[in-house]
Every structure is written in structure tokens, then in C-alpha cells.
């Protein structure tokens, strides 16, 4: 051994320390590091799994969201088309109804006009007939009064002349 008073190096102490430290190392490795490392490794794997499953879930959620968005867009476009179609149909219907009404009005107006014209015509004809009969009456009255032998003779002569020409 090395002895410098307060500082000394003893082989026995050194050997004991080496053995004691090896025992300590064995205990630490067997009772602490082994189980602790297993537990830490298990946790590491658990965390890794959780992270990857979270990532997977996120991707799934994103895909679902995109799909939902697409479906929603489609539904929106479809509803717009339906509304447009309905609006167009309604306006067409309205235009048709208006046109029909106009046509009906026109035809009623034309009918009324024709009726009116016919009535006027009828009235005119009636009037004309009456006028004729009145004039005939009037003429017969005049003729009755003014017809004399002379004038009748000349008329008959004239007629006979005409007939004779034709014969």
C-alpha cells in the first residue's frame, strides 16, 4: 500500500470497492435498468402508436371532410338547378297563361266586333227592306195618282219596240 499520512492507497480497500461497485452495478441493472427500460420502451412505443393513430385519424377526417364538402357542393348545385328549373317553369307557365288570356281576349274582341258588324249589317238590311217597301208603297201611291193613258201608252210602245227588235 501507499501511505502518505492522510492520503493512502490500500489494496484491500480498492479490491473491496471494486467488488462492491460491481455488486451495485448488478443490482442497478437487474432491479432498476431492466424493468425501467422495459417500461420506458413500452411507453415510447405507446406514444409512437398514439401519434401514428392520431395521424391516421387526422387523414381520415380530412378525407371525410373533403368528401362531405364535395357532397355538399353537389347538393348545392343540384338545389340551384332545381330552383332555376322551377323558376323557369313558373315563368313559362305565367307567360303561357298571359298569352292564352291575351288570345282569349283577342278572340272575344274579334267575336264581339263581328257580332256588332253583323248586327249593323242586319239593321242596315232591315232598314233597306223597310225603305224599299216604303218607297214601293210611296211609288205605288204616286203612280196610282199620276199614271195616265198617255204615259202608259208611250211606255208600252217603247217596250213593244224593244221586244220587236229582239224578235
Amino acid at each position: 500500500m501507499l501511505d502518505l499520512g492522510a492520503v493512502s492507497l490500500e489494496w484491500g480497500s480498492m479490491l473491496t470497492q471494486a467488488i462492491v461497485f460491481l455488486i451495485l452495478l448488478w443490482v442497478v441493472n437487474k432491479y432498476a435498468m431492466g424493468p425501467l427500460m422495459a417500461v420506458m420502451e413500452k411507453r415510447r412505443q405507446h406514444v409512437e402508436n398514439e401519434i401514428s393513430s392520431a395521424e391516421r385519424n387526422r387523414q381520415e377526417a380530412e378525407a371525410l371532410l373533403a368528401e362531405q364538402r364535395k357532397v355538399l357542393d353537389e347538393a348545392r348545385a343540384e338545389s340551384k338547378a332545381i330552383i332555376d328549373r322551377a323558376v323557369k317553369q313558373a315563368s313559362d307557365e305565367a307567360a303561357k297563361i298571359v298569352a292564352e288570356a291575351q288570345a282569349a281576349t283577342e278572340s272575344m274582341k274579334a267575336g264581339a266586333k263581328a257580332e256588332l258588324a253583323r248586327e249593323v249589317e242586319k239593321a242596315k238590311a232591315e232598314l233597306r227592306g223597310e225603305l224599299t217597301s216604303i218607297s214601293v208603297l210611296l211609288a205605288s201611291k204616286i203612280i196610282e195618282k199620276e199614271l195616265d193613258e198617255a204615259s202608259q201608252k208611250s211606255t208600252v210602245d217603247k217596250f213593244l219596240a224593244q221586244v220587236g227588235d229582239r224578235l
Binding site: M1, E10, S13, M14, V28, Y31, M33, M40, R43, H46
Partner: protein, 271 residues
């Protein structure tokens, strides 16, 4: 002057207070480890497990600086054992010092076996020389004399035997790793270059243990000196105790780090 009790067995000298302290420190570390690893959870760890995991991550961080993760993984147990043993060893001497003073008085005589135990020095002449001094101090009539003071409780790391033994264990381990990896590579790197021979077999085995020993031993010497000053030394004593807590932690960290460096030099490819 402080004395220590020793015994001889199979031609080797054993230092009793150092043996006591290394066993106490080891038991504290084992108790701590067993306490902290109760109820291990792979989910949310409890307080104790959290603390131990913090230490493991710390050591893994040290080892990971010099080796790849897979290689570093093999030496985490060694690092944790080293850092806890040295840290607790360094701090044990700060908490308290237990000393006994022995005088030869009229009604009480130091026994022959006690004198035999404190004078064991390995060689006959050294023992005789020491015995003379011890007898003189035991029988001293000087009122200022403390008699023969035996230190029972101190940092195990303040004993060179402890730090040298730890350093030899880890250096031997590092060489075993190098030889296992490739005997040719190890021999070529270690034995052929005189500078490397000096480094591997003189510088590393001296600097690694002496750095730790020197720091802790010097700390204890200063504590003993400040204690001897009485009231005057109380304020510097508290300052120095605080600083020693820091030094103890730093030295544990340095020893572990250098161990990892030396192991990595053997475990990594030789350059």
C-alpha cells in the same frame, strides 16, 4: 492529525471507515433505486419513477453525446450506478462528520489492539514510526492537543482507494470492450503508439481518480479547517458547504462523462 483504523487480511490492508462508507453509500443507492422503481408505470409515471427516469435520460444524454443511441443504451446502467454512487458519496461527507478522540488518561488506556489497528501501514518500519507518533499524541499533556482523532464518517470518494478502484473498474471495462470488438484494432491503437501507451496506462488511470479524489478531499480538508476556527469560520463554512454540494454534483457528472468518453473511444471505431 486524523487517524484511521485498518486491518490486514491475506496480505492486503483494509481501511475500516472507508469500508463502512462504501457499504453505506452502496446501501443508500440500492435503497434509493429500489424505492424509485416501486410501482413502475408505462403510463404516467409517479414522482419517484419520474425522478429516476430523469436521471436515466440525463445519463443517456451524456452517453449519447459520444456514441450512437444503440451503443449508448448498453452503458446507461453503468452511468446511472456511477453517477448516483459518486454523487451520494460526495454529499455524505458534507452532511456530517463523525470523529472520535482518544487520550490516554489515568483511568483509561488505549488498548493495544486499537493502537495496532491505527498503526497498520503495510510495512514494519512505517508501522513503528507511526506507533511512536501515536503514543506521543495519546499521552500528550498539551491542553491544545486533541489526542488521537479517528474519522469514522467521511465521503468515500475522499479516499483515493475508492476513486482509483472505480476508475480502474471503468477503464478495465473500456479496454475489455475494445478487445472484444477487435483485438487487432485495440492492440494497434493502444500498444504501438508510445503516446497512446502513456495515455491509456498512465494519464487516464491517474487523472480520472485523482480529479475526483482531489476535489472531494480538498473540500473535506477545508471543512475540517473551518470547523476548527469555531464561530469565526461559521459563515465561510456555510458558503463552502453550499459550494461543495455543487462541486460534488459537478465531479459526479465529470467522472460519468469521462467514463463515457473513454468507453466510447473503445466502443466506436478506432481512429
Amino acid at each position: 492529525m486524523h487517524y484511521t483504523l485498518r486491518f490486514e487480511w491475506m496480505g492486503m490492508v483494509f481501511d475500516i471507515p472507508t469500508l463502512i462508507m462504501m457499504v453505506v453509500t452502496t446501501l443508500i443507492v440500492i435503497w434509493l433505486i429500489l424505492r424509485l422503481t416501486r410501482n413502475l408505470q408505462s403510463g404516467v409515471p409517479g414522482k419517484g419513477q419520474n425522478f429516476l427516469e430523469w436521471i436515466v435520460d440525463f445519463v443517456r444524454g451524456i452517453a449519447g453525446q459520444f456514441m450512437d443511441t444503440k451503443t449508448a443504451f448498453r452503458f446507461i446502467g453503468l452511468g446511472v450506478a456511477l453517477i448516483l454512487y459518486i454523487l451520494i458519496g460526495n454529499w455524505l461527507g458534507l452532511a456530517t462528520n463523525v470523529m472520535t478522540a482518544h487520550h490516554n488518561t489515568a483511568d483509561q488506556q488505549a488498548s493495544e489492539s486499537f493502537i495496532k489497528l491505527i498503526t497498520i501501514s503495510g510495512t514494519e518500519e512505517a508501522e513503528l514510526a507511526k506507533r511512536e507518533i501515536v503514543m506521543e499524541e495519546l499521552t500528550s499533556q498539551d491542553p491544545n492537543s486533541h489526542g488521537v482523532v479517528v474519522a469514522w464518517w467521511k465521503s468515500p470518494t475522499a479516499a483515493p482507494s475508492v476513486t482509483f478502484a472505480l476508475a480502474f473498474v471503468v477503464l478495465l471495462y473500456s479496454h475489455i470492450i475494445g478487445i472484444q470488438k477487435s483485438f487487432g484494432g485495440w492492440a494497434k491503437h493502444t500498444l504501438l503508439n508510445p503516446l497512446h501507451i502513456l495515455e491509456e496506462f498512465v494519464i487516464k488511470p491517474l487523472t480520472l481518480p485523482l480529479r475526483l479524489f482531489g476535489n472531494i478531499f480538498a473540500g473535506e480538508i477545508l471543512i475540517a479547517f473551518l470547523l476548527s476556527l469555531g464561530v469565526l469560520g461559521s459563515i465561510p463554512l456555510f458558503v463552502w458547504l453550499g459550494y461543495s454540494v455543487f462541486v460534488g454534483a459537478v465531479q459526479a457528472y465529470i467522472f460519468t462523462t469521462l467514463t463515457m468518453v473513454y468507453i466510447s473511444q473503445q466502443a466506436n471505431d478506432q481512429h
